[in-house]
Amino acid sequence: MSECEVIAGPGHDHTPVLLVVEDEVLIRLSIAEPLRDEGYTVLEASNASEAIDLVATGHPLDLAITDVRMPGGVDGVALSHALKEIHPALPIILISGDMSPDRDHPGDGFLRKPFQMPELTKLITELMDPAWLTKRQARNAS
């Protein structure tokens, strides 16, 4: 983990911060709002450029969820690489309706659209589990 990395991390008083990157406003809303209802703080970005702008502010971040196919020159896979450059330990979930299962990506989880919110919240909980973070940081260090 680099010195400048800001990972909020789980804790009793901490509200986990999630970044949702999705170019279709109604899909973005249908993901972000239920997550807010679950108690998460949610940052919304409509494309990769906005996501990078948000992350560049140094806002604490626990996990990112990104669509794969998005307008502009940077898709969700490329964005994931960029986010991992900034936050190597940041868990990332990729969501896509058409990404080939063979495509290599740096994400920690993948959900095929359309998915049910319980599937997403389950994956988020798994990826943000403190044991998972410890295991992942150890893997990054080795």
Binding site: V25, R28, S46
Partner: protein, 130 residues
């Protein structure tokens, strides 16, 4: 705070600058509103046209990207017989004039936003439809 006795009022925040949009949306959520973020006027129109969503107000940067413009929000509201309040924000004089023509209640909002001014404006705007 928004009236908690009834369902929270819903505001669409339209701004092409994600940092500005996030800051004001976050503040409005803390004040008790449901906030839908739109990065362009086109996204805002998609939201307005979704039958499952009930929007009470649109807070729009007068220079937000998109093919739609604030006049079309007003026309949409008239066409659909919806009482959606419109608040425009702008940084330049032209935007201020446009806002003054379109807004129902008083002056436009200066952008970058002063959160306190925005919440007072929104409360006045939404209070007027109750």
């Amino acid at each position: 705070m928004a009236d908690q006795a009834t369902s929270p009022q819903c505001i669409v925040v339209v701004d092409g600058d994600v940092l500005v949009r996030h800051a004001i949306a976050d503040y409005l959520r803390q004040c008790g509103y449901v906030v839908i973020e739109a990065s362009s006027t086109d996204e805002a129109m998609i939201v307005l046209n979704d039958e499952s969503l009930s929007v009470d107000a649109v807070l729009c940067d007068a220079e937000a990207p998109g093919a739609q413009n604030a006049f079309q929000f007003r026309a949409w509201a008239a066409d659909h017989r919806k009482h959606v309040q419109l608040a425009l924000a702008g940084t330049v004089e032209a935007a201020a004039h446009k806002a003054a023509e379109l807004c129902d209640n008083g002056p436009h909002l200066a952008r970058p936003y002063d959160p306190q001014s925005v919440i007072e404006y929104i409360r006045r705007l939404l209070g007027s439809v109750k």
